[in-house]
């Protein structure tokens, strides 16, 4: 049962990722990325990380991708000509580099593959919201507060960068 679910989700994730980088329409790319993120959330569930699967769907597939879609529609980049055609040598080089890096990762994986442990039975109690919250609000409280500051700084910074022109014209008058 686990294996069927994993194969289904993995094929879905890889196919949507490939579709994302090969699609000429930016909106289709963004929607395929949503499919990819949701299938990765399903794989998180297989790994007994229920809390993070939920957060993945809420934060990534929900909030971040809505932001992406808003920006794509705001900038209206859809009407540009295809952004992928160019000289072919670049593609070949990129593909070769990708294959080399993939080979390196698989090689380093192959060296340790038989000494890796099985999935731990402790995970059934470790991945729940209760367990994550328990650790997050005690051991990692300081980092958690820092994250709040980081998010505030990001919002303020984004406002400053995106409003650059409006602020400038106001200053000159």
């Amino acid at each position: 049962m686990d294996i069927y679910a994993f194969v289904l989700l993995a094929v879905l994730a890889i196919a949507s990722a490939l579709g994302m980088i090969l699609n000429k329409n930016t909106i289709n790319s963004a929607l395929l990325l949503v499919v990819n993120l949701v299938s990765i959330a399903g794989i998180y569930l297989l790994l007994q990380a229920q809390f993070l699967a939920l957060i993945q769907i809420l934060v990534y597939a929900g909030a971040i991708m809505v932001l992406f879609l808003f920006v794509i529609m705001l900038l209206n980049v859809d009407e540009e000509e295809s952004l992928m055609d160019g000289f072919r040598a670049k593609y070949l080089l990129a593909f070769l580099l990708g294959v080399i890096i993939f080979g390196q990762i698989l090689y380093s994986l192959g060296g340790v593959t038989d000494m890796l442990p099985e999935i731990s039975p402790k995970m059934l109690t470790v991945g729940t919201v209760e367990a994550v919250g328990d650790v997050l609000y005690t051991d990692y409280l300081f980092a958690f507060e820092l994250t709040a500051i980081l998010l505030t700084a990001a919002v303020v910074g984004a406002l400053m960068v995106a409003q650059y022109k409006a602020k400038n014209s106001e200053g000159t008058e």
Binding site: F6, A10, L52, F68, T113, E118, Y164
Partner: protein, 100 residues
């Protein structure tokens, strides 16, 4: 039960697809989405190791990585909007002000 190497192989494949996407696309928004894909692939391998060791620290790390990715997406999209304002394009080959 699925072995740990299958999860890591899936993570490696997704990372490589994201990397190739960053290299071949010229649309800044798609490049940015490919970076998100690579982040996700690394999160997946972190969670895999966390699950197979029965240790929750990996999940906490993924949680913080999600928060940082959200902040990064906000700032990155703001920069893309600013670039679009100046160039009227999100084609990265046309952003050459600092190119030598």
């Amino acid at each position: 039960m699925i072995g740990i190497d299958w999860y890591l192989a899936l993570s490696a494949i997704l990372f490589t697809i994201g990397l190739i996407g960053v290299l071949i696309r010229r649309n800044a928004i798609v490049i940015f989405m490919c970076v998100e894909l690579m982040l996700n692939a690394v999160n997946l391998s972190l969670l895999t190791f966390s699950a197979y060791h029965g240790d929750i620290a990996g999940q906490i790390l993924v949680f913080f990585s999600l928060a940082v990715a959200a902040a990064e997406a906000v700032v990155g999209l703001a920069i893309i909007i600013a670039i679009f304002r100046n160039n009227l394009s999100v084609d990265i080959t046309k952003v050459n002000l600092l190119r030598w």
